[in-house]
Symmetry: C2
Subunit: 396 residues, 2 copies
């Protein structure tokens, strides 16, 4: 069982504290699982109180014994009810905070209102940008876990080449890949931060079904099995001469990488084959441009312009009205982290050791989708790829 080292946790909360100081926050209180995991090393139910100065205090409702085992933080205390929060803080010698940062992007209103009643007179601010900012820049420790996740991603990729054959359904393909991933230690559950954002491993789909859009903010959607979970693999059978996309998230010890590869049986329509080659070219453009100090939005703008010049104005990152306004997304303990390689993020700059997935894709309704996706980390002299599976169109 990999336990997050105490030195990691210290570096994380100290980086948050320096941002809190800039924003004049006396404290940040965290409750959401991904943030708890990142800042405490555990996901045991409770509240993590981080003062602007000094050690955090993990108030654990359940399970306390387990939190003590899994968290490298110095101070943990059982919490019977959020109502006890002020008393426990006083017992630990923490001054009553006046300005408190919360995860307002994910905390439900009812939860927030209970906290408001408990901490009367507090001025609550949104700490989301601070939290996301800290989490976006990874440590060597985190990058090493993401490399482990990339090993599983490659095993999924290799398995796909063995499994894809004429007549099996997209669901059968997905089920085989999920099974293979799980046996390799994929944790199964994948976290997304966005409200209503849901994912199950990712997507495996073929031909026209790969070009069907859905409600989620993703370039590809898929029919899914039903309108309740309207994404990913359907009961469609794989046929020769159509694109088969495997867009899977590998998640190991809490960290993930995202990878997409393209397969087909026999060969591919020249239009799609050219589309795929052009997406590789856009990835090349990213590689040439992305380094510390470059604006997230600038990368997006350059790559979108290139896609338009290549003739994909109506097909890049979705078709027609279903186009999304991003090409890449940060990954780490959630699938939708900073940085967003997206329209409008022109003031936010790439920093060393940020990690993100970049997924140029082109969608032809009725025919299918093609594209590539890799997960990168930003080094001082440019991007390094974490995912490493063979990138060529795999003809089976």
């Amino acid at each position: 069982m990999r336990i997050t080292p105490a030195t990691e946790l210290t570096d994380r909360f100290q980086r948050l504290q320096s941002l809190m100081l800039q924003e004049s926050l006396d404290a940040v209180i965290l409750a959401q699982n991904a943030d708890l995991f990142y800042f405490s090393g555990a996901t045991q139910q409770g509240l993590l109180y981080i003062p602007v100065d000094g050690e955090p205090l993990y108030l654990v409702r359940r399970d306390f014994g387990r939190a003590r085992m899994e968290s490298g933080l110095k101070h943990l205390v059982p919490l019977r009810s959020p109502r006890d929060l002020p008393g426990v803080l006083a017992d630990f010698g923490y001054a009553t905070p006046k300005r408190v940062g919360l995860e307002l992007d994910v905390l439900p209103v009812a939860f927030f209102r209970r906290l408001e009643k408990v901490l009367t007179g507090c001025d609550f601010r949104d700490a989301t940008p601070l939290i996301r900012g800290v989490r976006a820049v990874k440590s060597d420790y985190e990058i090493s876990i993401m490399k482990d996740a990339a090993l599983i991603a490659d095993k999924i990729h290799q398995r796909a080449a063995e499994v894809i054959r004429e007549g099996i359904t997209d669901l059968e393909l997905a089920a085989e890949l999920e099974f293979h991933a799980r046996k390799e230690g994929h944790q199964g559950y994948i976290r997304m931060r966005g409200f209503n954002s849901e994912i199950f491993f990712g997507h495996a789909f073929s031909g026209p079904d790969s070009a069907v859009p859905t409600g989620s903010d993703t370039p590809l959607g898929g029919m899914g099995l039903n309108p309740s979970f309207a994404q990913g693999a359907s009961y469609k059978k794989i046929r020769p001469q159509e694109p088969v996309l495997v867009d899977f998230v590998s998640c190991f010890d809490g960290y993930m990488v995202d990878q997409t590869r393209l397969f087909c049986i026999g060969g591919l329509d020249p239009k799609l084959e050219k589309g795929f080659a052009d997406m590789l070219q856009i990835q090349q453009l990213l590689m040439e441009q992305a380094r510390p100090g470059v604006a997230w939005g600038a990368i997006y703008d350059t790559c979108l312009q290139a896609a338009r010049q290549l003739g994909y104005g109506e097909h890049f990152m979705g078709a027609g009205n279903a186009r999304v306004s991003f090409i890449g997304h940060g990954v780490g303990v959630e699938l939708d982290e900073y940085p967003f390689i997206a329209r409008g993020f022109n003031d936010q700059l790439l920093e060393e050791k940020m990690t993100f997935a970049f997924e140029p894709k082109v969608v032809f309704p009725g025919l299918g989708a093609v594209g590539i996706e890799n997960t990168f980390w930003v080094s001082g002299d440019g991007l390094k790829s974490l995912t490493y599976s063979d990138q060529s169109l795999r003809i089976l």
Copy 2:
């Protein structure tokens, strides 16, 4: 692709409207996926506006074409931004609402604040109890889908008996069952309503690991693979003479059932074997007591008292401090629906066609957990079980 019939949707929103009338709500606005699916038949991104009188209006941000295909509602309209909400409502001849119900238990604060700005001057109330109340009572259509889900649950059960053998890990068992379920059409993603509530298929674990508690509000936890997702199967190997619990959620076409069965290799410690028999007895007590008009909390109290008399005061529904204060939970499109067979729910009564899982379990730290779980619907003359796998301790 199963599409929710328009008559179903009409019955659902009309039942909500009669509760809205009692609460003097002019409208309810829904945004969360499970509620969108229940009231519109689709999960395409947008807002579902339900006036206290008349037809609902599904304002779809994306994907509109797909929402038209999947939703049986009469009125759908594209929505570019929530900012356009007042204008679109006016275009459709809806009066500006004054008192509006929202899903305050799940809507993030930031999302809520954007809605507040759009609908200035509105008095926002929590519509959660109304929504949960409507959803708790199922139609024949819904129960028939849950019966389909129970077919998959039984296939998982049968597969477990084939797979469990000495030396395989809990993870290998879980992976095999997940694979089997997926090939049968399990949708994969399972929805829970509670903040931070996460689940991946359910749990398969053995011996001491089945008795390890975790942060979630569940009687059993499990080690899991890592502290990031600290529940369910671990790398522990299955040995003879220890309990192997398979507690899996089957989810098909949006609806789920929950089932737990007990296996072992060779035989079981007499203490655990007696514990299992006693849990069956508590299930029998439920069957005798539960019918329309009985309070949720009364069932809980009776069964808890019985468990205490049987000597499980410190072990029933968790051990020591890890005990939870419920024995059953409603299931349908989410795993944590009404009714709660739980402490304190003495004013809320069982109604005909409510559906819930009942899971008496007893936990012996260091040894393991044993218990049973079935999903029931409430008929006029008592409970009917949806899950039907053989209930006896399966000795392999």
